[in-house]
Amino acid sequence: MRYIILSTILLAASGFVMAQTAVPPSEDVLDVRVRNLAQQLRCLVCQNETLADSQADLATDLKRQIREQMKAGKTDKEILAFLTDRYGDFVLYRPPVKRTTYLLWFGPFLLLGFGLFALFRYIKYRRETIHDEPLSAAERQRAGELLNPITEKEHA
């Protein structure tokens, strides 16, 4: 029994090792790299799709160029520069932080700040205008009657 379990584990392990060595790594690694980069890029034909998902002709051409440049040893950064030189920052799904995009990047925090400011102002205003007034003995008894009418009746 022991031998069977042991040999099964060894067999499984060897299969795993074989699977790892059987595929040529470079093409596979390249596929993943192209995909990763293409997912950060906008397809210019169908603008709400990434380059990775798009089936448009231009997207296919661009992916081919990305792949060729990767094969030629270009870094992702160089390839992004190649694309933005031609198509502008619009191809990037994550726009770079620069003067024209400050409002885009920091605007939401500005709005959050405004919102928090308005909220605090409102809470402060409420605290100052609404005062707690303790109930008198008669009011307390009346409230009790209203809240527990049944128990009151049972006592009576």
Partner: protein, 173 residues
Amino acid sequence: MRYAIPLIIFLGLVVFLAIGLNRDPHEVPSPLINKAAPTFHLAQLHQPNKQFSTEEMRGKVWLLNVYASWCISCRDEHPYLLGLAKTGAVPIYGLNWKDKREDAISWLDELGNPYVLSVSDLDGRIAIDYGVYGAPETYVIDKNGVIRFKQIGPIIPEVLEKTILPLVRDLNK
């Protein structure tokens, strides 16, 4: 006063949305304006054994028009290009984009040929260099080989009269 602040916020939003709605998201501003037009050497459409190079155009103001026989808007644009070519105001060169050679030639035979010559960009590489993402697109290139204007989509008479022709006249001075 109670309603003033929400009203102001609402009006602000309306202004932003109105601006947003009146912009065409398909017109992506080209970063190549006022930059050197990418150089290329490509085979000519009608005489594929002959090359055409952008270098030959130094000292001239010219139009580079990206077209293809499979492109529907190119057909709409075509009569205006023919009209422009007839006036001789500016030479038009065609970049035949990802087209079959025979298709392009029969397309031009059928509709007329406004181009001084066309070059074949069979795999679309040069088009990518020019940031082309849909035909037709037209570039106005000056004497120093700098792109001065890009028209995305067909050249309509209004654009031709108000923008392209005055610009060409200016650049030829």
